[in-house]
């Protein structure tokens, strides 16, 4: 391995490639011998790979403490074309190491959880052989995500970006034969892949323009040249940032490309927690934060980012109110929270965005894992197999006493997400709200409304799932899961409680940490905004209690209390504003019709006709030609003689 010629200030930075290579080693080990090792061995390898990556990330963080300017660690010269010189080199700075810590830390906890969860899951689906495959994909995801966050240039970032997309596809379709009509999960995976492709296309175009305008893809050189390029050609940076935004909307599930994320819940729950809540979907936020110098040069694009994020936050929040699937609620909640982060980075409050990214990773992973624990408990208690859907909140209820650990951790996660002081979510959301209030009152109002919805649907979920009486036999007999499931929950719950310490008002640890890699604007703590957000939280929870908590639903079939009060509006929420149907009408249906036309008329008739015709022509010609081959040696000799005389004649007449 060729290490950098760039002087490393701290030898610990030489460890940096290990954050990628340890998970990769896990992949290779599990591919080669995972099946022979059995579940214990395979799970252990995967967890150790994740934990190792976390240890390396922590070591890098300590290294950065003494030399915060970081380093660039060269692994391999990739290629050199003309003036373009691309390397596989890792950027070790405070921003990337923060991401590494989140990804590997939360990732390892979810790995541990998954060793037990997948044990039951593969049995529930009657295919124990897939256990190893799951962890191969999981470790591969970690490796790809590490490539993404540690990249030193945009192309390497794109490699990681595509890598995590691939893993997402593989894991959404993990039970590819399941789902509606045996195709539902495969279709969900395909949808995620195709929708992400639209976003990736945008990012790729952005990279191409960048290559044309800057002649380089390295972060440092692009960012250094950005002001000069803006001065000569302001449209170029705007185009780059807007196309980049398209990539962000794809990967981070923002309007208009958010539709794949709710369907992505078809994957096993640890996948939803790791990839579709805590890490991969935050890649877009990371990209905007990393490209901050570009967005500074294009205020218009930054404003578009801000508005996309804010509207998504509100829009997804409304949909979450009308969902009954325990994971779908969390999925829309994730989209909404990602909207908060995107809005934050869009308005330049990069630290607030990153802070929310970190705390959100804690409590959203916690919520998903707790939801997974509920689902698992229900599936294991469902002896009569009379449960249609173990994820439907209408068949739950009364699980508070039956799953105490899950209940308390879920409650902590929900409160942290809703922003109760002093849990993690309060501080991070508050920073975003303060920044929004300074930027634009309209955005502030929108985000406040989204925060209200967040608290409301989380309270609704808690009441539906854990309070009241059990509404099915499975819920009646549900029992708490073993420690492998609950210990990660407790760990994440502790992180959700104390995560706010990272960037307490007045201390601003994270801000000072990140100011080595980003331009930070010092955040302020505004008391009235904090009080307003707490009041909104209280109002939302009270409303939810009035609707769902005071008189809990008695049976699974009952209509939602909101349905009577909101009427058509509620049905629209339940149907997710018909966005999928709209896209289907706008894009999918015409596309299919065009494909149908091309396949039946163009391909079958024209292309196939051409091919068949050519084949028939060649066949008839060769049949005719084969008559020359009459099998008589003397005829061949005669032809030979004619040839010889012809050649001699040529030699004579030359």
């Amino acid at each position: 391995m060729l290490l950098s010629e760039v002087s490393l200030h701290d030898p610990v930075f030489r460890l940096a490639p290990l954050v990628i290579f340890l998970p990769l080693a896990g992949v290779i080990l599990n591919l080669l011998i995972g099946r022979r090792l059995g579940e214990l061995g395979a799970g252990l390898i995967a967890c150790l790979a994740g934990a190792g990556a976390f240890a390396v990330s922590a070591a890098l963080a300590f290294g950065l403490k003494s030399s915060p300017e970081g380093a660039i660690v060269l692994i391999w010269r990739w290629f050199q074309v003309g003036n373009l010189d691309l390397n596989w080199s890792l950027k070790v700075d405070t921003l990337s190491v923060t991401m590494m810590l989140v990804v590997s830390g939360v990732g390892t906890l979810i790995h541990i959880y998954a060793t037990r969860y997948m044990h039951s899951d593969v049995r529930h689906h009657h295919e124990p052989g897939r256990y190893t495959r799951f962890f191969v994909f999981f470790n591969l995801f970690l490796a790809a995500m590490m490539v993404l966050v540690s990249a030193d240039n945009f192309l390497m970032l794109f490699v990681g970006w595509e890598g995590v997309g691939l893993c997402s596809y593989l894991l959404i379709g993990f039970w590819f034969e399941g789902g509606e009509g045996g195709l539902g999960n495969a279709r969900a995976a395909k949808k995620a892949f195709v929708v992400n492709r639209i976003g990736d296309f945008g990012l790729l175009i952005a990279i191409f323009i960048m290559l044309g305008a800057f002649g380089s893809l390295e972060f440092s050189r692009v960012f250094a040249a950005a002001p000069a390029v803006t001065a000569t050609a302001p449209g170029v940076v705007l185009a780059i940032t807007l196309f980049m935004l398209l990539g962000v909307t794809g990967k981070s599930a923002q309007l208009p490309l958010f539709v794949w994320l709710p369907d992505a819940m078809a994957g096993p729950t640890p996948v939803s927690a790791l990839i579709h809540a805590a890490t991969m979907v935050t890649a877009g936020v990371y990209l905007v934060a990393r490209s901050q110098p570009l967005f500074v040069q294009a205020p218009l694009a930054a404003d578009v980012v801000l508005w996309v994020g804010a509207i998504t936050a509100l829009f997804a929040g409304t949909i979450a109110v009308g969902q009954y699937d325990i994971k779908k609620v969390l999925a829309y909640s994730t989209i909404s929270q990602l909207g908060f982060m995107v809005a934050a980075v869009g308005m330049g409050a990069v630290v607030a965005g990153m802070f929310h990214l970190i705390t959100h990773a804690f409590f959203k992973a916690l919520l998903f894992l707790a939801a997974g624990s509920v689902i698992l408990a229900l599936e294991e208690a469902d002896h009569g197999h009379d449960l249609q859907d173990a994820q439907d909140m209408r068949v739950m209820g009364g699980l508070r006493s039956r799953l105490p650990v899950t209940f308390w951790t879920f409650l902590i996660g929900a409160l942290a997400l809703s922003g109760l002081v002093p849990l993690a979510g309060f501080f991070s959301k508050d920073e975003i709200l303060v920044a929004a209030q300074q930027k634009s009152p309209a955005v502030f109002i929108i985000l406040l409304a989204a925060a209200f919805l967040t608290a409301f649907y989380m309270a609704r979920q808690v009441f539906l799932v854990f309070f009241g009486r059990p509404r099915s036999g499975a819920a009646e007999h549900a029992r708490e899961n073993p420690p492998l499931i609950t210990v990660p929950l407790i760990a994440l719950a502790l992180l959700s409680i104390f995560g706010g310490v990272l960037n307490l008002p007045g201390v601003h640890t994270l801000e000072h940490w990140l100011e080595h890699s980003l331009n930070v604007t010092p955040a302020k703590f505004v008391l009235w905004i904090a009080l307003v957000s707490l009041a909104v939280l209280a109002a939302a929870v009270t409303l939810a209690w009035l609707l769902y908590g005071r008189k809990p639903r008695a049976t699974a079939r009952e209509a939602d209390p909101l349905a009577a009060r909101l009427g058509g509006l509620y049905r629209a929420l339940e149907a997710r504003w018909k966005v999928d149907e709209f896209y289907s009408w706008l894009v999918v249906r015409p596309f299919e019709r065009a494909a149908e036309f091309l396949s039946s008329i163009f391909d079958l008739k024209l292309i196939n006709g051409l091919g068949d015709g050519l084949g028939a022509l060649v066949q008839s010609l060769s049949t005719a030609a084969s008559r020359i081959q009459n099998g008589f040696v003397r005829s061949y000799t005669l032809v030979f003689l004619v040839g010889v005389t012809a050649i001699l004649a040529y030699l004579l007449l030359r």
């Binding site: 008589f632 003397r634 005829s635 005669l638 003689l641 004619v642 010889v644 005389t645 001699l648 004649a649 030699l651 004579l652």
Partner: protein, 185 residues
């Protein structure tokens, strides 16, 4: 005209006549015998050229060994006579025409291009078998070895192609059983 030329022309006429007779004989045995005569004539011409070793080899190898093999096979297969007629339409005419064209072309190429005035005498260098042997084992040792390999392959090929029954392998099942029962007894 010198006597040598006269002798040569006589020999040439005999050789050509033998070749034509070989072609037109209906009986393959006659064909073979005419060919032997042709080879013997050629052998005499080699003597005239001052190559006694080649001449003797011509007689022994060609007229002797090869033609005897031919006669054996002719008599073994009974292929002396075939029914007459030409099943391939135009084969005879086209073959004769192009044969004539080929002859004309060779003559034009080799004789009229180079002229008629070069004369050939007898070889004055040493062409004794000893000299040939030295030449063969010094300068041509690799072709010699390759030729030996070719002959070996030909021998093996001839044996395999004419084999009647597959070779019995030792230790056939029934044989083994017999052996075992013998031992038990």
């Amino acid at each position: 005209m010198s006597p040598a030329v006269i002798i040569f022309i006589v020999l040439a006429l005999v050789a050509v006549a033998c070749a034509v007779a070989m072609l037109v004989s209906k009986n393959a045995v006659y064909s073979a015998l005419f060919l032997v005569l042709n080879f013997a004539t050629i052998g005499v011409i080699y003597l005239m050229l001052g190559a006694p070793f080649i001449a003797v080899a011509q007689i022994t190898v060609y007229a002797g060994a090869i033609m005897v093999l031919f006669l054996f096979v002719i008599m073994l297969l009974g292929g002396e006579n075939l029914r007459l007629g030409e099943p391939l339409r135009g084969q005879r005419l086209i073959g004769l025409i192009f044969g004539a064209v080929l002859l004309a072309e060779i003559v034009l190429l080799l004789i009229f291009r180079s002229g008629m005035d070069q004369m050939v005498g007898t070889l004055t260098i040493d062409t004794s078998p000893a000299a040939l042997g030295l030449e063969m084992f010094n300068k041509y040792s690799l072709p010699f070895e390759v030729t030996s390999l070719v002959l070996l392959v030909a021998v093996i090929g001839a044996v395999i192609l004419t084999r009647v029954d597959p070779i019995r392998r030792p230790g056939k099942p029934d044989q083994d059983r017999k052996d075992q029962s013998g031992r038990q007894a």
